[in-house]
Amino acid sequence: MTVPMDPNEMMRSLHSGSAQIDYRKAGRLLREMEAQANVRVALMGNMTLEPLVPFLRVEAARVGQIAAFHVGPFGQYMQHLYGEPLRAFGPDVIVLLLSAEAMRPDALERFHQLPVEDRYGLRDDMIAEIAGWIDAALAQTSATVMIGNFPPSRSALGVADMMSEYGERQFNLDLNLALIQAVRARPRAMMLDVAEAVNRVGTRQAFDRRMHFLAGLGWSDAMKREFAALFGHALVGALGAARKCLVLDLDNSLWGGVVGEDGPHGVRIDRGDMVGDAYRAFQWRIKALKDRGIVLALCSKNNPADVEEIFRLRPDMPLAWSDFAATAIGWDAKHRGLERIAAQLNIGMDSLVFIDDNAAEIASVRHHCPDVHAVLLPCDPAEHVTLLDDLPWFEKSRLTAEDRAKTEHYALATRRAAVCASGDPMDWLRDLAMHATIRDACPADLLRVHQLFNKTNQFNLTTARPGMGEVEAMMADPDRQLIVATLRDRLGDLGLVAICGLRREGEALIIDHLLMSCRAMGRGLEDALMNDVKRRFLAADGCATLKGRYVPTAKNGPVSDFYDRQGFAALSLSRSDVALSHCDWIKLENDG
């Protein structure tokens, strides 16, 4: 690839997914954009971390983030947490990378001579230090902290090591296991699986022992690239920046051959056929995305009857018709199909990833829909799973109950829409028998609230994108109130779908945040929520005025007249002219 010379163009080209890049040049161009950074990343540890920065910068850009970097002084990862430089930098993300050998050099140099009890003690001691660091980092900053684990190394005892009680290999596995448990137990903490990244590169290629002795970082450039890619994935998870929907082509993408020509039994998707097995593995991997909360859709040039037939006649395929929340099958241009899918799911084009085996289709989609991330499948289906695994777009830092039920939610939405289309919308709303709970957010809501803040575009009055630490701070602040609404109806549970963030300012109550998941739009929940806020605060709580804020974005047009509809005067609304909206089709079940 030729490197464009303009940093903005560089950013776009990375984001649109070109494969080969020159990290040195790209990193340098992107460094010029650091002033506009939207994510601030501090690196800390006991290795020389500066050489990682250009790689991390590029991989952050690849997932659409302009990152600013701060590298803590070598080895002083604990002290540095309390220092002014880190506070002044204000990290959104802190990455901690430790070398076990540099952490406990004396013990690890002569590990095999240590009494077994001391080896267990060494594990506990190292984990206690890291856990203490994480706790301090969480307390001192509002950053998400990412902790690298420890890659294994060959044992001084050779093949006998694994046959020895608590040998080096077992110690490494156990240390990483204890680290997982320590990290998992702490909110705002994530693991970076450095050990697995080393595996992907291959140990012989991942480490450069000369650089280890010369410079205190034994990672080869190949390893730096792999680690940076891992960081890009984690960043998508940490920022809640995952795309919502994977749209798939069918022929030669989900099976070998063309269903319209080869027929439902002629395409290659059979167990035991090598090509069929490769496509089956790909289908299973796609199906697993559903459990991460990624919605699946189909966009294929085919006769709809042929496609329905293959899904009906081939229940042995891992993917079933019911796995897809939206479909666009016909002979329209693919970008039209993608637009229909986005409209049907009520999400933006920038929430879509599109996969196709046809280079011309990919080029056309990139041209017509630059917001869609379009991915060309490699020719060999054996490579498909790796391609999917390498995409950073579907990463979540942790999964919530809403993630696991996502396709079901969209399927229900489609059924609801069908009910709606058949009659009077008011009858439809009543018929849904909605029940809402409007209550203060509690710590258990943290992940879902953070997720909703970071992915809601349309019904979002101010479109603030707080980090997890800032959400925690909102919950803890006595002058602020974070209210959430959950909704269910006779067709199913929609989960936690709306957030209202209030802040007291003298006699006034400011609505800092008001947002609602697109799957709850058009139900009147916003009326129920605002009524509740007006009742609770204007009537009872000594607040004279309720003030709403609206920050227009390219996406939140649907709520530009929200405050007008809610009876707010241009600037504010006071108790004397409170008007509640008519909303008797939702039954409130508030906790009090």
């Binding site: 040195r24 500066e50 050489p51 650089m211 002795f213 010369l214 410079a215 450039d221």
Partner: protein, 74 residues
Amino acid sequence: MTIDALLALIGEIIETDPARIDPTMDREEIAGWDSLAHLRIVTAFEEAYGVRLSMEQIVEIRTVQQLSRMLEEV
């Protein structure tokens, strides 16, 4: 390999006009050529020319001229 190609590679890494790098000047004297830049230069050099230097060779290289001679030695 010409010394010009090598100068271009180094100039790109230390973000300096290659014409302003004296091939006989000690790297300590050249702005931008600090110890980390030195390792980047060596890595890029190894990659470009398919060679591998020892730790000691890496440390001993003081000038562009010495680096270019490495190609004849390795």
